[in-house]
């Protein structure tokens, strides 16, 4: 968030709306209207004095009205931009008697009551719609007493209550009486999976979100006795989600109750709630009580707003108000007008990893219209300050308005700092981060030949980059800057003990001065980037990634091991849910690939990779070496082999869903030339099983629904044995409903009681226990279809893991950099992953993720060089004992055992791979490894100053 606000190539327009879009793809003119903020964005430092002075309190939208805010406010503490907003509708200046308290409170005259709306046009090549989604408000229908019973609230309201910076500071209370609840009940699918209220679709994120909130509930309030979750199907489909679900199931105080309550009534006296549900053990109705009910509201767009925007942009929305994709399997991120792309919840509810991957994907697609309009990096020529002499430290102490000065005696802190060793300049400023104060720092550096700068202000996590840039611009090495956090971790948290806070601030400044004197200038290494890419794997995901990169003007080589492209898609009949012919789908994708100009090498295997980010050499068995700046792994996944399960491989009539798909592709579904009367599907074969694949395979429920419908069309009866129907993907829930209408029978089996196949050599029937009737269901069937899960290609993955140095997770699939914020990157810089190689997923998500990988790769390839953070570790060969500890512990494979001559070996750290955590330095027995910027000497100098009172 902070990064977006600071990036020179991103112009952020808040309080703004798009009101017009003219022109053609590559050459649009967008008209934007900005509403007045009444606060000067450039001047406001976010100190909050205006807000303190404001006499008006109104409900806070950010806290869904649970808390209050002033008429001049910042929505939440880390808001970007960090400027206040005047809500003129609630401001007293609107009336005859001018209040003006905020204007008077502002030291820098940032408040402008005469601000006005502005309209302007922007030349754009393409548009990304990332408008997100609203949530369904159960208000309209008064569902489950929401809006009537005070102790029924929505998930988002609960989320704010759980948040430590929320309206209750993280305390869970019953709105009716402020008491901590004993029993909390979550009800899932509010406004989702329902034709009567809200939408028919699955809202994707709510199941796990409730599980998360349930877990957090006990963290926040250990006195809560029980949290129940009332659900239809538990859709823990994402990577690691099923494991998370199992974790919550293991908590004795979390109860999962299948089925939505029929109604909820309130005990008017206690204001407790009575939930009418079904007892799963007996199948009889029962009443459960709860003193707080949370309705897990579905994601739902504000249809008025989205249809309005759709009209402006010239694109389409569906009946719910979500934006419509051009084609949902392989063109999900494209809107119905050229040059306009969709990502995140704008096209339907998504969880965070999928949203993030789609965002990168939309970026890749949008960038192809601007391939010739990339902005050149400006080369600077700044003379460097000589830092070889003794330290000359300048200390700048910030008042932060009254944020610091209200608690700490800033003047005294400055005076004390002036007496410290090596300190030659000290001053205090009202806001050290203001542009004015930053210029002063630059002047002082020149004037007093300062070669180390310390800012005693707020947190380095947000402000260090700003100060580093400031001193860099006058030629002082940015790593000679040190920050002391006397606000977030001092004045703010010790406001009631100003004297002791003063002592802490004094010590922390002294420690920083000691460290500062020992800081060393560090130079960021620049690596040349070869602007080409290699995509490994020629399935639809790999084809898509290669196409999207090539269309952006980067040379791409697509390497496929087998002789034909298309991967798994070539085995499909039609896609779900729109029943698009798979062959046509492939041909279209192939056509696009051909036109993109990507080079395709089929029948080629990758046998080795050398080099690192920006300059890899990919070695192949038949086509020699391919040089590339980035590599995308799109090698897909294997299909679980169910041999031995449900008689597969022994009993005739037991086939996998892939085999059925092949038959469907041929046309008729037959068994030894005889027609099939009744078919049964068994779900979760090789999925959600800690022994085989711990996670959900994501594609199989929807596929089963699609195949069941296809069988029904051929007049075949269908029974589906499932654990949870996870038809979460786009329109899959609607198909599920259609299947039920078409007469497909769905029978739930328990995790620990799998269905049994009847019949010796040939299948004749199937039986399974189901809780719904607390009995065994038995049916005569002549075909059993196993919905098999996706599993890693064992050998290929092991080999690639070794070659690429990308770790696989506990599920065997390749590990992404961050499960949410880095779904297509890996821990090895320059190597990206997409599709099923990262984890099982359906076609839509695979292909969208492939675009995402292309988008991420482009962020690397579009730059001539890549800068490496110099705060890495380095080994001194003289001290290295070649014990192998660092090589063994580093997950980034940065240290490597190298020959250093004379038959000797030592560890060497590859700076391009090192992330600078310094763990190897701590584990090195001899001290051979130096963690730059966090050296032993720097750390121990701080300890000595604090504990011994001097640097001795």
């Amino acid at each position: 968030m902070m990064d977006a606000g600071r990036h020179p190539l991103i112009d952020v327009f808040t309080l703004s709306e798009v009101i017009g879009l003219e022109g053609r793809p590559g050459n649009y003119q967008a008209t934007v209207r900005t509403a007045p903020r009444y606060v000067d964005l450039d001047l406001c430092t976010g100190c909050g004095q205006c807000s303190d002075a404001c006499p008006i309190a109104v409900p806070n939208e950010f806290d869904i009205g649970l808390g209050t805010r002033k008429a001049i406010y910042s929505p939440f503490p880390q808001a970007v931009p960090n400027a206040y907003t005047l809500d003129f509708d609630n401001c007293l200046n609107d009336v005859i008697l001018a209040c003006e308290r905020c204007r008077k409170a502002c030291d820098i005259n940032a408040i402008k009551y005469d601000d006005y709306p502005k309209e302007f046009t922007i030349p754009v090549g393409s548009v990304i719609v990332a408008t997100g989604t609203g949530v369904y408000t159960p208000y309209q229908k008064g569902d489950y007493g929401y809006g009537i019973y005070p102790n029924v609230m929505t998930g988002l309201e609960y989320e704010r209550m759980l948040n430590a910076s929320g309206p209750t500071n993280g305390k869970i209370i019953r709105p009716s009486d402020g008491r901590t609840p004993k029993k909390v009940a979550f009800i899932q699918c509010i406004g989702a999976r329902c034709a009567l209220e809200g939408g028919e679709y699955c809202s994707r994120f709510c199941c796990l979100n409730s599980a998360k909130c349930a877990l957090l509930t006990k963290d926040h309030e250990p006195d809560v006795d029980e949290v129940s979750i009332h659900y239809i199907d538990m859709r823990a489909f994402g990577k690691g989600y099923d494991e998370f679900y199992r974790r919550t199931q293991a908590e004795p105080w979390i109860k999962y109750v299948r089925g939505k309550p029929s109604k909820i009534l309130e005990d008017p006296e206690t204001r407790n709630l009575i939930l009418y549900t079904e007892d799963q053990a007996t199948g009889k109705p029962q009443k459960r009580d709860a003193d707080l009910v949370i309705l897990a509201s579905a994601g739902m767009p504000n249809r008025e707003v989205t249809t309005q925007l759709a009209k402006i942009l010239g694109i389409e929305t569906d009946e719910y108000g979500f934006f419509v994709s051009r084609q949902s399997s392989t063109q999900a991120l494209e809107a119905t007008r050229d040059g306009i792309y969709l990502c995140g919840c704008s096209r339907g509810p998504e969880d965070i990893p999928d949203s993030v991957a789609q965002a990168s994907g939309a970026a890749a697609l949008a960038a192809k219209h601007l391939a010739d309009h990339r902005i050149e990096r400006i080369k600077e020529d700044i003379p460097q300050v000589d830092t070889s002499g003794p330290p000359r430290i300048g200390v700048f102490v910030c008042n932060c308005g009254i944020n610091i000065a209200g608690v700490l005696d800033v003047k005294k802190l400055a005076e004390q700092a002036a007496k410290l060793p090596n300190v030659v300049w000290v001053q205090s400023d009202l806001f050290t981060c203001s542009d004015q104060a930053q210029r002063v720092i630059q002047e002082r550096i020149v004037e007093h030949k300062l070669n180390r700068i310390i800012a005693a202000a707020c947190t380095p996590r947000t402000h260090e980059p700003i100060f580093r840039e400031t001193i860099r611009l006058v030629g002082l090495n940015p790593y000679l800057f040190e920050m002391v956090n006397i606000r977030d971790q001092c004045s703010w948290v010790h406001a009631h003990e100003p004297e002791a806070a003063m002592e802490r601030a004094t010590d922390q400044i002294r420690m920083a001065v000691a460290r500062s004197a020992r800081l060393e200038p560090l130079e960021a290494k620049e690596l040349k980037v070869n602007p080409s890419a290699v995509v490994i794997g020629g399935g639809l995901a790999g084809m898509r990634a290669a196409t999207d990169l090539a269309l952006q003007g980067f040379p791409v080589t697509l390497i496929e091991k087998t002789e034909r492209l298309g991967g798994r898609s070539r085995e499909l009949n039609v896609t779900f849910p729109e029943e698009y012919d798979a062959e046509t789908l492939f041909n279209e994708a192939y056509e696009r690939l051909k036109q993109s100009g990507a080079r395709v090498l089929t029948g080629t295997e990758v046998i080795g990779v050398d080099g690192f980010v920006g300059g890899f050499t990919v070695k192949t068995d038949t086509n020699g070496d391919v040089k590339a700046g980035a590599i995308i792994m799109a090698i897909g996944s294997d299909i679980y082999n169910p041999v031995g399960e449900y008689g597969y491989g022994m009993t005739k009539g037991v086939i996998t869903n892939m085999q059925l798909e092949a038959q469907l592709k041929q046309g008729e579904v037959e068994l030894d030339g005889e027609s099939v009367k009744t078919a049964a599907f068994v779900q979760c074969v090789g999925s959600r099983d800690p022994e085989t694949n711990p996670g959900c395979s994501r594609y199989c429920c929807a596929t089963t629904v699609k195949q069941a419908l296809a069988l029904r069309k051929r007049g075949i009866n269908v029974i589906v044995f499932y654990r949870d129907m996870r038809t979460f993907s786009h329109h899959a829930e609607e198909s599920y409903r259609e299947a039920r209408r078409a007469g497909v029978v769905f029978v739930r089996y328990n995790d620990d009681r799998k269905p049994e196949i009847i019949g010796e050599n040939k299948v004749t029937g199937i039986r399974a226990y189901t809780e719904a009737i607390d009995d065994i269901v038995e049916a005569d069937v002549d075909l059993v279809v196993l919905a098999v899960g996706l599993s890693p290609y064992k050998e290929a993955y092991a080999k690639l893991k070794e070659i690429m140095k990308v770790p696989t997770g506990p599920d065997g699939f390749f590990m992404e950099r961050h499960p949410k914020l880095g779904p297509v990157e890996t821990n090895t810089e320059g190597i990206f992953v997409c599709g099923c190689a990262q984890g099982p997923k359906d076609l839509t998500d695979s292909v969208a993720q492939a675009s995402g990988a292309a988008g991420k790769a482009a962020t690397l390839l579009a730059n001539e060089t890549v800068l490496l953070d110099p705060t890495t570790c380095a080994v001194s060969f003289d001290l290295c004992r070649d014990c192998g500890t660092c090589v063994a512990i580093c997950d980034f494979h940065a240290p490597e055992r190298v020959a250093i001559g004379g038959g000797l070996f030592a560890a060497k750290i590859n700076e391009a791979l090192c992330k600078g955590c310094g763990t190897c330095a701590a584990m090195c027995p001899t001290g051979a490894i130096k963690a730059r910027h966090f050296t032993d000497n720097q750390i121990s100098s701080m300890m000595r100053v604090f504990l011994l009172g001097s640097e001795a």
Binding site: D878, L879, R881, T885, P925, G927
Partner: protein, 384 residues
Amino acid sequence: MAEATFQKTLSLTNAFRCLECGKCTAVCPISRYNGTYSPRRIVGRLISENPANVALDPNVWTCLTCGLCNARCPSDVKYSAMTKVLRREAFRLHNDPSCSHGGALQAMMRIHATSNQPQDRMGWVTGDLKIAEKGEWGYFVGCLPYFDALFSDLESNTLAIAKSVVKVLNVLGIEPVVMKDERCCGHDLLWGGDIENFKLLAERNVKMIRATGVKKVLTACPECYRTLAVDYPEVVGPLGFQMVYITELLADVSAQLEKKLGEIKKTVSFQDPCRLGRHMGIYDSPRRMINLIPGVQFNEMTKRGPGAICCGTSAWQNCDATSKRIQTDRLLGAYNVGAEMLVTSCPKCYVHFKCALQGESIPEDKKVEVKDLIVLLAEALNSK
């Protein structure tokens, strides 16, 4: 350092007699691998330069103080003694060595020197081990419990040495007095230049031992042995008890011990610890102990006895690539004479060799086992 004091040091260590023959550098195990280091050159500088300059040289910390140069010097220049003095000056001038394990061990020793907190170090004394409150014999354990804690990942089990000592003594009918608040002997601080903390440790330990009333104190650590026997009297005066190295006692009663030893079929070699051998002149008794064990084939390494090469690191400082090479050579030296096991009788040699066996420097098929002599003896007792 006052000039006069320093001149006196040079004179006492015979530095002025240096003939510049270079024998010291020729035999120095460090110089063998690190061409930039030369004891001869340092002696030369000490005679001609301001001692403070020399004390600020990082090479002050390079010497292993193994004493091989002293033994070869035709003029009897006491180089390691001189190094010890020079390091006091270096320490005072903030010329610090690079300490292994982030200085954890030095911190531990200094806490021992200054803290009044009682330790909790007797956990290793299991029920089968008999120790006494009073008696003739004391046993000075050393820092073994701490090594076990810090080097848990080496699986070194150094405490087996302490257990074995008590086991062997019990067999001989001795129930030693073990002090529950014994502190580090201070060897490493002494050789690291921190004389003040060394003195505190010496005073504390001597006071504590005297309070137990023991007449003789055994130790299985050559560093403790040298420090208590030789260095303590220099700072606290006559000890009032006698220091005995474990193998010296065992050699005296070998006839009694021999009957109780079972067979161990192993070809072994022996690493002479520098503190035990060259510093204290004990070469014979450990060898007699090895030869006492039935079934053991004892093959001497080529460099042994007074000419033995040190284990490569001392005082937990300046452990580096050279240290590793020395250790590797020693381990391969044992392998080359056909040994399956390298026996040493110093816990630190033992830890250093255990560490050197890690990684890929020595091929797996050439890695010998490393064992402490007393542990080997105790195993022989058990096997009967």
